[in-house]
């Protein structure tokens, strides 16, 4: 199963009750968001509205279709804008 | 809908009549580079603008018995282009040339810079140092006033209602004389002087200073003439001791404020630095060593 990793300082920790690593049954970004919400209510919404994810190192923003492999490491990070 | 009137008289009398006759605030306009900005910012609400550029004498440069007579409204760019004047009073010409951008040079004038009465005006310390005389016209006719008697305080002059400056006179040059003006700004252009310094000297055959006038800008409510700084030069060559005395005298004369352009401490120190550097150029010019631009 893909593994979700939070930076030990991430604001999401409040929702994960301090858990910095956990596995999620998901094959896409979309599924991940839904799974996160069932596992930790509010986290999915937080990710969807304010965060991007890095799948095996690569950053995805607003990309439901992005695929997760069984061994994928998913890191939740703040969304990135720019000038 | 606007209550503002504009007039461009073609004689001194008409100009004076308009200025003296106006009930509300009447402003003389030469280049307008300060006036229009102040109006736009709402700091100045004149009822009458008298554009004096069409008044005979207000524009142009001529020489009478060695003395230079500069139409007080002559644009900086025109003054800058006058080789004869520049050769004898490079300090005054370069100081005027430092005002604003090339665009502003197309409009700005000695009278405007002087009567805007900013202590940081670039051409004013140079005119102080040069011993310039202002030809003032008004309801009581013509009078000649030393330039340092014109500014009364920030934004204020000693000109009476109806008066304006028609011409600026620079005295005939004596041998072995030279002037210079330097200012300090944070950038290389487009800034208001944080400190300005004008020096005008006459040397004897041995390079000893026999006469000097030193002025400082932006270190007091008005541009300062600094007799102690001049005294530090007179009777001396420009050696290290003289420079040190000059630096000290210049710093001692400063009564600056701290503002967005500089602190009291910085302005005072830089006044000393500029006095030394400006004097060096003025001495070289008096000794005929350089004709190079000071900046």
């Amino acid at each position: 199963m893909p593994k979700v990793v939070l930076s030990s300082g991430s604001p999401s920790l409040a929702l994960t009750r301090g858990q910095t690593e956990f596995e999620v049954e998901a094959t896409t970004f979309r599924r991940l968001v839904l799974e996160l919400d069932t596992k930790f209510p509010g986290l999915g919404k937080q990710v969807e509205e304010g965060m991007a994810i890095a799948i095996d190192g690569e950053i995805y923003q607003d990309a439901y279709h992005a695929e997760l492999k069984p061994g994928s490491e998913i890191v939740l990070i703040p969304k990135i804008g720019g000038g | 809908m606007s209550s503002l009137t504009y007039a461009a008289p073609t004689s001194v009398d008409d100009a004076v009549k308009l200025l003296a006759g106006s009930a509300g605030l009447a402003k003389v306009m030469s280049g307008g580079t300060d006036l229009l900005v102040q109006m736009r910012a709402g700091r100045m609400k004149p009822e009458l603008i008298v554009d004096v550029k069409k008044v005979p004498g207000a524009i142009g440069i001529r020489q009478e018995g060695g003395a230079w007579i500069i139409g007080a409204s002559t644009a900086g760019a025109e003054v800058e282009a006058h080789a004869g004047l520049k050769a004898e009073y490079p300090g005054v010409v370069e100081a005027l040339d430092l005002i604003g951008s090339t665009q502003v040079q197309g409009r700005c004038s000695l009278a405007g810079n002087l009567c805007n009465a900013s202590p940081a005006a670039d051409s004013v310390p140079a005119m102080y140092a040069a011993g310039a005389i202002c030809v003032v016209v008004g309801p009581n006719g013509k009078r000649e006033v030393p330039v340092e008697q014109i500014p009364a305080g920030p934004g204020r002059t000693n000109l009476a209602k109806g008066e304006f400056i028609l011409e600026i006179k620079l005295p005939a040059r004596t041998p072995r004389s030279g002037d210079a003006y330097l200012r300090f700004i944070p950038r290389t252009e487009m800034d208001i002087a944080v400190v300005g310094c004008g020096v005008n000297v006459t040397l004897d055959a041995n390079g000893v200073c026999t006469a000097a006038r030193v002025s400082l800008g932006a270190v007091a409510p008005t541009v300062l003439l600094v007799p102690d700084a001049a005294a530090a030069l007179i009777g001396h060559k420009l050696d290290d001791a003289t420079l040190a005395a000059l630096d000290k005298a210049a710093q001692a004369a400063c009564k600056p404020i701290s503002d967005k352009r500089g602190t009291v401490e910085f302005r005072t120190k830089v006044a000393g630095v500029l006095a030394r550097r400006t004097a060096a150029i003025a001495f070289d010019r008096a000794a005929g060593k350089t004709t190079a631009k000071a900046h």
Binding site: - | T33, L36, V37
Partner: protein
């Protein structure tokens, strides 16, 4: 009070207009005459985006009253090209990519023309000081200066 009647020459054509006394030449060009090539970046003479030529002399049109144009000859960016033939400065700005947003470009081109009319062979330093009154926030001036120097060479007949 009533508007002022002004008779002048703009880009070689005689022109007449009515303006408020306090309207600047920039306001008049943009809002009365309808020439919007001169831009307002500051309205205080600090950015040069409104640069025009008055009897061949470079000025900020925001620092001049519309009524002062009486009897004068005004040149704006719209009058720099000859018909559909670009001025060498305009051509070199394009070739050197000396513009990004292009907002300061009209002022820079008018100012550069004034420079090269007066000094056909400026040094880089002379060009930089002459153009110091024209703020550009996009280019860092590098390509602008190269375009002006190159245009000068072309106008001197030294380059294509």
């Amino acid at each position: 009070m009533a508007k002022q009647y002004v008779s002048t020459t703009i880009n070689g054509e005689s022109a007449e207009y009515l303006c408020e006394t306090q309207q600047t030449m920039l306001d008049v060009l943009r809002d009365v005459v309808g020439l919007t090539g001169a831009k307002e970046g500051c309205a205080s003479g600090d950015c040069g985006a409104c640069s025009i030529l008055v009897d061949g002399r470079l000025v900020c049109s925001c620092l001049m009253l519309g009524v002062e144009a009486e009897g004068k000859s005004i040149t704006t960016i719209e009058g720099i090209a000859e018909g559909d033939k670009l001025h060498p400065i305009q051509q070199k700005f394009l070739e050197h990519a000396a513009l990004q947003c292009g907002f300061c470009t009209p002022g820079l081109i008018v100012a550069a023309k004034a420079l090269l009319d007066e000094n056909p062979n400026p040094t880089e330093t002379e060009a930089r000081y002459w153009l110091a009154g024209n703020l550009c926030r996009c280019t860092g001036y590098d390509k602008v200066i190269r375009a002006v120097m190159d245009a000068a060479a072309v106008m001197r007949g030294e380059a294509a």
